[in-house]
């Protein structure tokens, strides 16, 4: 296996290590802790008042526009990173190109701002 892939394999080990460590600690805890469930303990906690209706109640998701904007700017960042590493080679040509790109996206943000969707109502 190439060193490149091996370093990514290390990442897999790190992710597994988190689950193993957490699992180990939870297993130790399961040997020590009491298990005495009852109905009251199993009820959702709503500041002492008995809950009414489903836990998965309908709720307004306020930020779907924020989520769309997030995707736009996140993709912008994906394009910006490789450009940033090579800026020295591109010189002023790369600078102007990316200036146009960023300006267009900034215009989108200004448009969203003017439309009033950047308010958390």
């Amino acid at each position: 296996m190439s060193p490149f892939l091996r370093s990514y394999l290390t990442v897999v080990w790190f992710g597994l290590a988190a689950f193993l460590l957490g699992g180990l600690l939870l297993w130790v805890a399961s040997l020590l802790r009491p298990v005495k469930p009852n109905r009251e303990k199993g009820m959702p906690y709503e500041s002492g008042v008995d809950p009414v209706g489903e836990g998965w109640s309908q709720s307004q998701i306020r930020y779907y526009v924020f989520a769309l904007l997030f995707v736009v700017f996140d993709v912008e960042a994906v394009f910006l990173f490789p450009w940033a590493t090579q800026l020295e080679r591109y010189g002023s040509f790369g600078l102007v190109e990316m200036g146009v790109f960023v300006a267009v996206l900034l215009l989108g943000l200004v448009y969203a701002w003017r439309k009033g969707v950047l308010r958390w109502v």
């Binding site: 080990w13 957490g22 805890a29 020590l32 836990g55 700017f73 960042a77 910006l80 990316m98 960023v102």
Partner: protein, 350 residues
Amino acid sequence: MLGLIASIPYWAQSLLRVLGGIVAVLLPAGTIVYVFLFKMMSFMQSRLGPMEAGPFGSLQLFAEVGKWLQKEDLYPERADRFIFKIAPLIVLSSTFLLVAVVPFGPDAWFTDFEAGVFYALAVSSVSVLGILIAGWSSANKYSLLGGLRAAGQLIAYELPMVLAVIGVVIQAGTMNLQQIVVAQNAGSIFGWDGLGNPYILTQFVGFIIFMIAVQAELTQTPFDMPIAESELVSGYMTEYSGFRFLIFFIGEFATAGVFALIASILFLGGWGVPFAWFGWTSIDSVDNWMNVVGPLIMFTKMMLLVFVIMWVRFSYPRFREDQLQRFAWKVLIPLSLVNIMATSVLKVAF
């Protein structure tokens, strides 16, 4: 040193790396909780903090873990049991994936990615998934709202963080964290190399944006709307008790440590000292003892940055939800875009 590492079989290398990673996650987390959360917070509030367990309460952490181990593991009857149980582990795994990319010395690294900082920003958002499913699976209205609130904040502040880092990448010309460290320490300010060129000087705006975004990503106090223990019953963590709650807690402070490590790499020169002090020119000429001193330098810088984070946390009141969203979208993001363009103009001009 590298030859020594290469002579060990792969499985032993991986084992050593993972053990090193566990130390790099848990040691800062424990130190941060004791030094800052127990002691500094107490002193700022004119009290002593824990004093009973060990000298100056230094063994308090072990007492706490012992206490949490004995707590009953409760879950709501209607909860989505499996997802409810693994959510804290997903948050913790985000921290472990993040620390995998941090270099602690010229040869003391876990992985040496070309796209290091890009990878770090990507895996840091895995914790959002853990938080969302923790809020969803609890089958509790408060938790569901809390999870959505937390996700809204975390995605809003991820953008300023990502965009602030681009300024550093433009200056260093690389995304590899190791090479970013070298670029800072081998650099010079107008020909004077006594300090290297730590990017906190040239990227000061980026540094401020990054630290504000880190504060929000860690949900520390001016931005602790998702948690709000006393008013909103801990948001997405309402239904968690016992050791699963402690895993969320460990994850929070371990991530604080790792983000401080990454900030110290990007802006404060990381593990290095200015190379001119010892006549080094590149990473290959760095002396071997830096593999021991480097982690200590990193730890010092991490403590400094976490001190700042905690100082802000203990000093400021909380932002309202609409205020913090407005701050991210209308101040930080335009500012960081301007910072990117200014940096790139200066980079091309000089």
